[in-house]
Symmetry: C2
Subunit: 559 residues, 2 copies
């Protein structure tokens, strides 16, 4: 059996290695147009930022070591330009020599990846404007920084890579501006969660332009100017484009393979394309999202690796090993904060008409009495019908990845909020609390689902009319330090004695700092005959960062 694989980074290299392990005697040829195989693409921003100091660390395998270990014919610097699916051959060109040749295959695996979007803006191809996708890009950027006196960088696009680049430039002492067309960073995350990270970025000295499109780039002296839509310019010694990526389907189209609704290569659950002798993995394929069923392209290393393994198994043993799709679990370190998301955020659920309830809690990363505990915020969305967990977003300074992984595992298993309450985590004071934050998220959601807790969201406070009473149940000191405009104060521990001060014929919006005391107050009020009582999900903490962000953006629009 002769396997040909196109693309030797995450998905392709994994497929090749697994193929060899499962079939010692097969012929395996792998083509890679770049110079490097199986490199750590997720590490590139950190290598640029000197967090990873040794360039060699980026290379999990070299062509030589891979060949030696896996007896795979590795052809780097060789681009596949055509596929003849009928004759089962590919055409390749050795980039250095220009030599073109054909190679036959029994089974072909496509792992072409994705390419960065470069919108056709004036000046976009000038020197000093980079994307960060592969080792070559990275080398260009490192060289550029060491060669020129880079003092100002502009990052266009505030996605995961954009924010990693912003942090890494900042750590190099470069003044960083992030320009984002949307009204928030990190599009897969909901606004109130993104707001927390936006304020952290500004606190760290990053200049953040939201709702801002780039119009073009011009060169002045040794410098670039990034021209914004509102006709202001930003000086830059270097620009990073991190607007997004698109699946590289060039060869797939040439081979006559079907693309899907999301314009990725269509594969079945065995990673097999519309041609039974061609399989595909990685950033170029699309697959139904397990939550919505909608065709989705997942640009993540974890799923690509899993697909590679499944693909190899099916090639060797026949189609048995199935892929179940990705819930797009993603995480990013943004200075001292970590933000992550799994599943479909509320805005995506809304866009697709999937009914859901959103609930936000704050909880300590470990027991509050043990030193070093940090607050984290968990926002989940779940089905109002049966409590199925649809998404989770976590933000905080410690233990965020751990909680996100647990939440992602429940989402992936199509589990419910009850599963969250039953997670039996490891508890000792340095690691968690008797009730872990994921348990707490589950408990609160269970209370909501069973009608024991009625909540409202930050956004609804702004829409509250005069008929609504906003009740602050925190302490006098907390109230005095800042509150929601128009709220009246009755501390939780006084509520039972002051019921007669609270109007019975009006809707009550209750809030406390984090959400717990508001819930307790609500339980007292509801059981004391108050009919229409809602507790602010995420409490004053979430409202504060949300409303600060809204005010700031309004002000920016006015300016």
């Amino acid at each position: 059996m002769k396997y040909v694989i196109i693309g030797a980074v995450a998905g392709g290299a994994t497929t090749a290695a697994r193929l060899r392990r499962m079939d010692e005697h097969a012929e395996i040829v792998i083509f890679e147009k770049g110079k490097y195989i199986s490199y750590a693409n997720c590490g590139l921003p950190y290598y640029i930022g000197d967090v990873i100091k040794d360039r060699n660390k980026l290379f999990v395998q070299t062509a030589t070591s891979f060949t030696q270990r896996f007896k795979v014919d590795v052809r780097i610097g060789t681009e596949v330009t055509d596929i003849n699916a009928e004759q089962k051959t590919i055409t390749a060109i050795q980039l250095e020599t220009g030599k073109t040749y054909q190679e036959s295959y029994d089974k072909l695996v496509l792992s072409p990846g994705a390419f960065p979007v470069r919108p056709p803006l004036p000046g976009i191809n000038m020197e000093g404007i980079f994307t960060v996708r592969n080792v070559a890009d990275t080398d260009y950027i490192k060289n550029y920084i060491s060669q020129f006196n880079v003092k100002k960088a502009v990052v266009v696009g505030a996605g995961f890579i954009g924010l990693e680049m912003a942090e890494n430039f900042h750590e190099l002492g470069i003044d960083v501006t992030v320009v984002e067309m949307g009204d928030q960073i990190l599009a897969p995350v909901d606004f109130p969660i993104a707001a927390i990270a936006q304020q952290h970025l500004r606190d760290k000295g990053i200049h953040l332009y939201l709702n801002t499109a780039v119009e073009g780039f011009i060169k002045t002296d040794a410098r670039l100017k990034v021209q914004l839509k509102d006709e202001t310019d930003i000086d830059a010694d270097l620009v990073i484009l991190s607007i997004g990526v698109k699946p590289d389907t060039f060869l797939a189209v040439k081979a006559g393979l079907k693309l899907g609704d999301a314009k990725g290569i269509l594969v079945n659950e065995y990673m097999q394309t519309s041609d039974p002798d061609i399989y595909a993995v990685g950033d170029a394929i699309e697959f139904p999202n397990p939550i919505s069923g909608q065709a989705t392209i997942t640009y993540l290393a974890g799923p690509a690796n899993k697909q590679g393994r499944i693909c190899a198994d099916n090639l060797v043993f026949g189609n048995k090993h199935t892929y179940k799709g990705s819930i797009n679990t993603a995480i990013v370190k943004v200075f001292d904060l970590t933000i992550g998301v799994a599943g479909m955020a509320a805005k995506q659920l809304k866009a697709q008409g999937i009914e859901h309830i959103v609930s936000t809690i704050h909880s300590n990363s470990h027991a509050g009495y043990y030193p070093g505990a940090k607050r984290m915020t968990i926002q989940i969305a779940f089905s109002p019908d049966n409590g199925t967990l649809l998404s989770a977003q976590v933000i905080g300074k410690e233990g965020v990845d751990k909680r996100l992984d647990l939440l992602a595992t429940v989402i992936k298993n199509k589990g419910t909020i009850t599963d969250l309450t039953e997670i039996e985590h490891a508890y000792a004071p340095p690691f968690s609390s008797a009730k872990d934050p994921v348990n707490m998220a589950g408990y609160v959601a269970e209370n909501i689902l069973l009608g024991r807790l009625k909540i409202m969201q930050c956004e609804e406070i702004a829409d509250a009319d005069e008929s609504i009473v906003i009740l602050d149940v925190r302490t006098l000191a907390e109230h005095a330090a800042g509150t929601i405009p128009g709220s009246i104060l009755i501390p939780l521990d006084e509520i039972r004695d002051r019921l007669n001060e609270i109007p019975r014929d009006r809707t009550l919006y209750i809030f406390c700092q984090q959400g717990l005391r508001g819930y307790l107050a609500q339980r007292i009020l509801v059981q004391s005959g108050f009919d229409s009582v809602f507790n602010l999900s995420g409490g004053y903490l979430l409202w504060k960062s949300y409303s600060d962000e809204i005010s700031l953006q309004k002000k920016e629009v006015l300016v």
Copy 2:
């Protein structure tokens, strides 16, 4: 409705608070014989060790704050001495005044907890010999340390609390000896995993006596002597007994409640005892282990809290909310290491005749190319029939709790090793790798279950007779730095060219450093016609600490 609760720490306090939230108008009385309610008992060793500096931090609630917030009648310093289940009354004594009185109930909740074992050894009640169970114990110990010049401490019993005490004393500059009757620390963990932690304890300067029973205690001048079975003595200024705890079933027996096979209070899945008006939660109850079905007593704060919530719900809304049992997820920080376990370790599975396969892997806490990655070891046991995950043990310096929580979640859901391969974790270089350690544990187990990888264990190497060839497939440098006695070296990357050097008629035991290269070598050999090839699970790393520990213990016996 009048609820009476006996015991106001984890389970009891949780029950009371949830009862109030669900029923604003019930009468709730809670009795606690100690002075404190709802305190952080898991924090006590760290308060003794000055890691937690402020004593007030131990108190989640005080009797006053709890009363105010939850309108609960809290009676501290009041011991319940009898229950009359027929008349539905309890008898209580106010410890300070000696006043005895009766209190009626509609529903009674028992949360009496457990008490530390104090074996009837000569001298065990002398001053300076302590247990660590409650705030009073802790205050005694702190005062004793500040009053006397404590330079040497002996900890009897190397369980979770014992090790936390050892670390905390050591951090205070006290010379610590740990004496343990068994042949390893941490009884719920398997020997090869415990061995790693034992070596770490010795490296930190803890004197560790295994296989050592204590015979008694004597006083000499201002000091204690701990007398060991082998007739040696150890000097001590202070002794901690952390031998274990037993459920406090005194009142349950008086009330005529049924105890179970494990001598804990028998409850059904609604936390209801054999008397329908009496419920029980926490360390005093027994419940079937979800894996073995065997009656088990769980001495953990997490499950106690969960039970309290379930109990309160069932009291208010009728028996609907079910408890599913605990897989005994537990974790402990031992200096720079963290060790945790969930489910039933191999020795427990063996003892109960449950068929299982054990597999051990080593993996980095996050991407190796990003600074600070630390190796961790994961040992899982799973069913040979269907891959159901039966237990997980994790040890390492970073990210141990995260992986244990994920593994525990799969065990709790009666999931399989395939679920481990499909966990879609959050990956960015600071947090994980494209394949998370839990994925890797799943992949290796899947290879074993599908017959693609045959393994043997450390223990089997010792039993290997002359007919077996032990093959080291690491590099020459690794081999030269230390290997398994009698092994021959053929580095992995040379195997394909040196097949003729390997005897075809003998069983091969292959090993590498961690297990991966051995697997690759095995795949090559099996597919090259070698029939009987086994790879050492956990590799040289696991074997080394295992065999070092065995040698050390043999030497100690000889001395």
